[in-house]
Structures are given as C-alpha cells and as structure tokens.
Amino acid sequence: MKQLLKRRRVGVMTEWMRPQSLEEALDLLAESSQRYKKIAGGTDVMVELQIAPERRPQAWLDLSAVAELQDVTLAANGLRIGACVTLAALRRHPQIQTRWPMLAASAAVTGAAPIQNRATLGGNVCNASPAADNAPVLLAYSAQLEISSPCGTRWMPYDAFHCGYRQTALADDELLAAIWLPYPPEGVRSYYRKVGTRAAQAIAKVGIAALLQDNGLGQMVTARFGLASVAATPCMLPTVSNYLQGRDLDTLSEAALREKIRMDLSPIKDIRSTAEYRLEIASRLVWDAIHHAQ
C-alpha cells in the first residue's frame, strides 16, 4: 500500500485545527473568529463542500476532539448533551430512551445508521435547516443552549435560537457547547412523527414533536409543540398552545384547532412537498398528537 501512496499537489495549504479542549478552541476563535469554518460530524458541511467546491474554506476548526463537547451527563437540573455527541449515542442512551423518548426517536430517523454514527446534535442545531429532524423535539422539551465564547458562557432558550432562514443567534466567536433538556414533568405524554418519502434518508416534509400534560380530568394543562419543514425555521405553535391551555379535550373542535394552526404556520411549496399538503398533514398530526400521545 505504501508504494501507492501519492501526495496531492496543493497550491494553498489548508489549515486544520483540531483542539482537544474548549479553552484551546475558544483561544483560536479569540485570535480570529471569522477565519475558521467549524466542523463536527461533517454530514452537512462536507455536502456543502461537494456542492460548492469554489467556496472551499482555507482554515477549519474541527470540534470533533474537544473533550467538553463529547458527553451526556445527568445533572440535578436536567440532561446536558455535549454539542458533539452523535445521534447514534443519543439513540442508544438508556436514560434518553426512557425520560426523553422523543429525542431517541428523532435521532433514530435522522438519515440512517452511517449518518447517525457521525452527525452530532449540535451540528443538527447549528446547521439550522428548517427541516432539521431533532429540532422539533428540542423545542417541545424546552431545551436550553449553553453557548461559549472567549468572553464566557451564556445560556439561551432554544426557541430563540433560529432568527431567520438558516440564521442563528450564534456569533462568529461563539461555539454551541451543550444542549440542556429539563426533566419533563411527571405524567406528561409525548408524540414524535416525521413524514417523508421513505423511512430512512428522507428530508422531512413535516416533522412534529408534542409534549402534553393534562390534569387527569380530560383538561389540557400545557401543550408544547415543535415543528420542522413548515416555516423558514423550526417553529412552535404559540396560538395553538395558548388555545389548548385549560381546554376540555372531549369537546375540542377539529375545525377550530385547524384555524389556530393556520395562524401559526406558513409552509412553502418546494421540491419535497406543496404548502397545502404540509398544512394538511401538520393539522392532522397535531390532532393525532393531542389524542394519541403516550
């Protein structure tokens, strides 16, 4: 094999920084925050590179070896998921399977096994696709983001992170360090569905996660929804949630609920689906979630 080894001639040296600690990574960003293209599992970034080779970055910040980003930790106030934990690790994690089952479910339908072995939760969040498979779940579970920069650490609710189509609140010199999930209240029901052309390797036409709590007497206490592929960003259903609060589920009108859903969603037509289909499916899934979440 050695005699076959050839060196590719390169005009410009590509710089590849692979820090081992968060401090080292932040030091690099402090020196020159705009210089680096950040990469973790590479399952989105490497596709971009393939599509637009003329925009090949000259300097890379590879986060895949940063120690502080690799672990899932149960803490008193919730679950801390390091930004570089892979979807395969989340799918297999026993506590995630039992206490945050929607996350185990969404991780298991993101791409397929070879993608899940490399793709990270932080990458899925920061890539900021409106179709991101894990985004609805993080919205429904009220995730908080731990964001580090050379100036320190800040926390923000995930529902404030996506500020426009593929835009996030992350500054150039910031890194998403971890995603925190609070413990869901006792007795909540949850529901996750992804609708695509096939079970594996599909980009969602609609993705939905719902976390519902009722009072045991048929009345909804809180209903929190996250959706993908029905707006420019992953989004929630504030009007619907507000409408459902305290409402009697037996007398709930599907037509009235649909009207509220229309106020929250603005799907578009694209190569994967039409706006009408997305709105129809989202409406049916919300109804299904309310009645069949487990």
Binding site: M1, K2, L5, Q50, P114, Q201
Partner: protein
Amino acid sequence: MPITMRINDQSVTTAVAPDRRLLDFLREDLGLKGSKEGCGEGECGACAVLVNGQLVNSCLVPLGQMQRAEITTIEGLVENSALSQAFIACGAAQCGICTPGMMLAATALLAEHPQPTLDEIRWGLSGNLCRCTGYGRIYEAVAQAAKGGSDD
C-alpha cells in the same frame, strides 16, 4: 501535519490536504477502488467503510479527522467469509455497485446484533441504496450469514 491511520491493518501516513475526502484518498491515492461514489452526499451508502468499527459514509469524512483511526474497507474484509458466501448463495449482488457498502453495513450490523431480526437487518442496511435487487435477497443473505456464524 501528517495524518497516520490504519487502513485494513496496515499503517498509512499521508500529508495530503486535511479536507480531502476519505473516499478520494482511498480510491485515488491508495487505489482501493472497492468503495464507490454514488451520490457524494451521504444518501446512498456506496462509499461506506468502517471507521473504528462504525459504519460511515467515506464521502462525508475529511482526512483531517482520521488521525489514529482504524479504517476497514471492502478490501479489508475476510475473503470467503460466511457473509460473502451468503451474498453469492442468495444472489444478493447484481450490478455490484452497492455490494461493498452493503457488506460493510452488514458487518457493522452483525457485530452489534449477531442474530438480527428482519427489522434490525432492514434498519442496519437502510443507509444503503440498491437499484437492482429489491433488497429481499440482500436481507436474506445477511440472515443466512448470521445463521452460518452461529454454527461456527
């Protein structure tokens, strides 16, 4: 910075660009042409290899992340294994483009689930597309290889 890895149990050191795709390095620099490029964007699995025992799409892996990695390509799998015999016996290969990726996906699956159910087989191979066989014969081959393995 030179990158040193083990590919099919041989040590390889290279100084090629760190953003070079593992797939291109394997095929063009090392002449290991069993891994195929289908889609180039992680959807078809034709380029699948094992990195540290895990199934990955080599078209999405930059060499910069392969320092000290253990990589297995189709050329590194045992010849005449229960798996390859089962592929032949079941007619699980037609045009052959997807076969290397399928065999590596099956290898990863059988390492995790030595006696997989049909659902586990379908799930384990779900990142690999085949346009000839309709998948049935491939699933059958994996199930047969698992049975063969238990007789050893």
